[in-house]
């Protein structure tokens, strides 16, 4: 996306910056929506295995957060997103996508139904102007809470035990439940890892105290702070899409036809044509059976990560590319998310990825067979058990 940011301004510290900086032995920061965010704190492998075997803390404060409140909030949101949000009850969180008038995905995110006529939308892309436009004519107030609400993602099999040790009882929380557990703290059973996990939300100025409280509670549970690199592996294993990587948020594209419909992203299940009008509905009705490409989840032959590989049908015809590709340490296989144009995506028996490798100064390519699969690459039952296990 071409938002110009004056480099002289530097990056903003997140509300957890002090704690993160203390642990950031790798001194590896990247720019996440203007914030200094860690990509690795000491070793990506350690962080990843903490996430899958113990528990991990990841700062999600840079996410964009918008409060949408007022008598027409549900109506306004139902016109915004493609799914029927009337089915998201108070105290629940729902995953949603929203489209432009052409039916191209603008972004995806999570909708927190906080109370009567009171919602929060959490997403990757800046969305305030769009939401203000979407709110016109409705009795709602849209407030950008990005810099008011701090978020901490606690993920991994011991995350429930960590919270318990911190004096926070969330045994009753089912996946996608949320609870205002203390006056200054909201916990939702959500995450971007496909594992057991929680997201903790508090006011910006309460962030450090929250960090310390969780950190102390985690000493016996193998809790580790992690950076984005470890999280990225987990989210690919879970089969989740990242904006700007696995799809191009259409407002951020400058070239024509870079946008994608929910159907092309395998998110057709989020589109409810029966609920009444929503943005892009008329366009999507005509486009739903006319996908130009499909996002596939694939097993990749061999063990070389396929990131960035071009995809061929047979040996010659280029039909797509890999958007995210990793060796999955937990699934013990080579996996990838891929865009494959139609109709090749539906006749995928001969799909091959041309993977580029660099070994000690030598570039090489190898062809690896792709096998499309349904669903996530890793979906442990512990992620859904309620009450959750302590280990």
């Amino acid at each position: 996306m071409s938002i110009f940011v004056d480099p002289k301004l530097g990056l903003i510290p997140s509300p957890f910056h002090a704690s993160l900086a203390e642990q950031n032995r790798a001194h590896s920061w990247y720019d996440w929506a203007g914030y200094a965010a860690p990509s690795v704190l000491d070793s990506m492998e350690f962080e990843y295995f903490a996430l899958r075997n113990q528990s991990s803390l990841f700062d999600i404060s840079p996410m964009h957060k918008y409060r949408i409140a007022g008598p027409d909030a549900a109506q306004m949101l139902n016109r915004l997103v493609t799914r029927d949000i009337r089915k998201i009850k108070t105290g629940r969180v729902g995953y949603a996508v929203w489209c432009d008038e052409e039916g191209m995905v603008i972004d995806d995110g999570t909708l927190f139904h906080l109370g009567d006529d009171d919602w929060r939308l959490c997403c990757q892309e800046p969305m305030l102007t769009w939401l203000l436009d979407a709110a016109w004519g409705f009795d709602v107030v849209v407030k950008d809470e990005t810099h008011d609400v701090a978020g901490l993602s606690l993920q991994g099999p011991t995350s429930f035990a960590v919270l318990e040790a911190a004096g926070l009882d969330v045994a009753h929380l089912k996946p996608f439940d949320l609870v205002k557990i203390e006056p200054d703290l909201m916990i939702s059973r959500t995450g971007f890892t496909g594992d057991l996990g929680y997201e903790l939300w508090c006011a910006w100025d309460k962030a450090e105290a929250l960090w310390d409280r969780i950190w102390q509670a985690g000493t016996h549970q193998g809790l580790r702070a992690i950076g984005y690199d470890a999280l990225n592996i987990a989210r690919i294993e879970a089969g989740f899409l990242t904006a700007g990587v696995d799809f191009q948020p259409v407002h951020a594209t400058e070239r024509l036809h870079r946008g994608q419909t929910p159907f092309e992203l395998g998110l057709g299940w989020l589109v409810d044509f029966e609920k009444g009008h929503f943005n892009g509905r008329r366009a999507l009705l005509s486009k739903q059976h006319a996908q130009r490409s499909l996002l596939l989840r694939c097993d990749v032959e061999g063990f070389k990560p396929a990131q960035g590989a071009l995809i061929y049908n047979g040996r010659k015809r280029e039909v797509g590319h890999i958007t995210s590709g990793i060796w999955s340490p937990t699934a013990k296989k080579n996996v990838a998310l891929a865009h494959v144009r139609m109709p090749d995506a539906q006749r995928a028996s001969r799909l091959m990825a041309e993977i580029y490798t660099l070994e000690e100064g030598k570039w090489d390519t190898r062809m690896a067979r792709l096998t499309p699969v349904q669903g996530a690459f890793f979906a442990p039952p512990r992620a859904r058990a309620t009450p959750p296990a302590r280990t």
């Binding site: 139902n78 436009d133 016109w136 004519g137 009008h277």
Partner: protein, 510 residues
């Protein structure tokens, strides 16, 4: 609950025509009008004074024909009138069909140049009329450029007309149509009342000055039906009555004095309307004579895409024309005018520069201290005599609002201006009425009280009228159409917008 094939919301000129066209195609139509009488902006009047619109120059024979109304009715043919440009020194000049003359009957030195210019504009106007009589071609376009216009003319099959123009004249047309009236007119004429009259006609009802781009288009638009100006027999009320008769003859049900409070939609298709007095009327087709912001409000914002709503909100419609009606004490002629000029259209616009200067205050939300005026002398059915004046610029968003004091000031300025050129007029006035754009907006729903419901500027014309994506009358949910002045080709007492919308609705329904 009643069932219809189509409901027309609003019984302005365009709503009446749309209803009649649909009725004549066998549809069972209901036309619902909030006011007690039909005609909308055209017939709006207060306390027995003259209506807002007072002259016919753009009434579309095509629209009348499709509405089943006899084009040659006396109401329309009425009385053709000349234009008199008023001068403070009493040396008025007269524009007739065949030339420009001094008050004493001798020919004005710019007569030939004026005739040539008008002739050229009329030819162009004929081309534009062909565009106006068809819905704008489909497809998307981001802007109106010369190339785009040429393309559109080709698509609209005005090709024959264009060929007759010849290649160099065609190039000239495309050059001229998008430019400003000041430059084009002063290319051929020195500045003065002849240029001033053209400049005044080019900006009437618009939030532009003669130097604003696209103003030539407005002038040509006025000449699209030949440029003849008539004062309808029986006034604008008679015109509206004729249209109402046409709608009745087409078996339309007419519901005056009834406000539509909601346009009903089920899933994504129109099902009818609800009225403020609690009736539900069903129809799978609803044509709205209102501008798009009001129509979308009546339907509910949920039914429109966010981008469409944004475009609708940003449509420019800032009314600048106020009506100032001066009641005269009796039938005696206006001072300073010859007897054959007594019914003429009076213009106060001594030069193009004057018109431009009048526009300046409007940029800063102020009224002109030296306004541009078009005035007609009219007699009302009750026998009262009036000067019916359209006064510019009186911006709808006047700084401080249109208080009584501001209205009095506008009346004062109008009388002062006219009295300069027609000394003694002041003594004949017994009463004044001021109808400001914000009053027009309240009374009729026209955004900003704008003459055309939406500024006729290059970014809001043809495929961009009233906004990109809604130029072919269909608006949001299935079965909903816009049919008012904000749609192509625009307003005036013309009827083409309503007629085009009705035909388009019929075609889409097929």
């Amino acid at each position: 609950m009643s069932n219809f094939d189509a409901i027309v919301v609003g019984g302005g000129i365009n709503g009446l025509v749309a209803g009649a066209v649909l009725g004549r195609k066998g549809k069972k139509v209901c036309i619902i009008e909030r006011a007690d009488r039909f005609g909308g902006m055209a017939s709006y009047a207060v306390d027995g004074g003259p209506s807002l619109a007072h002259a016919l120059y753009n009434l579309s024979p095509r629209a009348l024909k499709d509405a089943g109304i006899d084009v040659d009715r006396a109401t329309f043919t009425g009385q053709q009138i000349d234009t008199v440009s008023l001068a403070d020194d009493g040396n008025h000049i007269v524009f007739k069909a065949n030339g420009v003359y001094w008050n004493d009957g001798s020919q004005h030195p710019q007569s030939k140049a004026w005739c040539e210019l008008i002739q050229r504009f009329k030819t162009y106007g004929g081309l534009l009329r062909q565009l106006a009589e068809a819905p704008p071609p489909g497809g998307h376009s981001a802007s109106l450029s010369r190339a785009r216009l040429a393309e559109m003319l080709r698509l609209a099959k005005v090709g024959i007309g264009l060929k007759m123009l010849g290649k160099s004249e065609m190039r000239r047309f495309l050059q001229v149509v998008l430019s400003n009236v000041y430059d084009i007119v002063l290319d051929d004429l020195p500045d003065g009342p002849v240029a001033g009259m053209l400049a005044a006609d080019a900006i009437r009802g618009a939030a532009t000055g003669p130097r604003s781009p696209g103003t030539v288009f407005n002038l040509i638009y006025r000449l699209g039906h030949g440029g003849t100006i008539t004062q309808p027999t029986g006034g604008m009320t008679a015109v509206v009555d004729t249209l109402v008769d046409g709608a009745k003859a087409a078996d339309c049900t007419l519901l005056p004095g009834t406000e539509v409070s909601r346009i009903l939609v089920d899933l994504d298709a129109v099902t009818g309307v609800q009225t403020a007095d609690g009736q539900t009327l069903r129809a799978p087709l609803v044509l709205s004579n209102l501008a798009s912001p009001l129509t979308s409000q009546l339907t509910g914002p949920s039914l429109f895409d966010i981008e469409a709503t944004r475009r609708i909100r940003n449509i420019r419609a800032r009314g600048t024309a106020a009506k100032v009606n001066l009641r005269l004490k009796d039938a005696s002629p206006l001072p300073g005018l010859k007897s054959e000029q007594k019914d003429a259209r009076l213009i106060y616009a001594p030069s193009a520069d004057y018109v431009e200067a009048a526009f300046n205050p409007a940029k800063y939300r102020e009224m002109s201290k030296a306004p541009v005026i078009e005035a007609l002398r009219t007699e009302q059915p009750d026998g009262s005599h009036w000067v019916s004046a359209i006064v510019q610029y009186a911006p709808s968003d006047l700084d401080g609002g249109w208080t009584q004091e501001a209205q009095d000031r506008l009346a004062q300025i109008t009388v002062d201006t006219l009295d300069c050129a027609l000394p003694g007029l002041r003594e004949q006035i017994t009463d004044t009425q001021v109808i400001t754009p914000d009053q027009i907006a309240t009374a009729t729903g026209a955004p900003g009280g704008h003459w055309h419901h939406a500024e006729m500027s290059l970014d809001q014309l043809l495929t961009l009228r009233p906004a990109n994506g809604i130029s072919r009358y269909a608006f949001g949910p299935k079965g909903l159409f816009l049919c008012g002045a904000a749609t192509h080709p625009g307003g005036d007492v013309m009827g083409l917008a309503g007629r085009n919308a009705a035909l388009m609705a019929l075609e889409v329904q097929k």
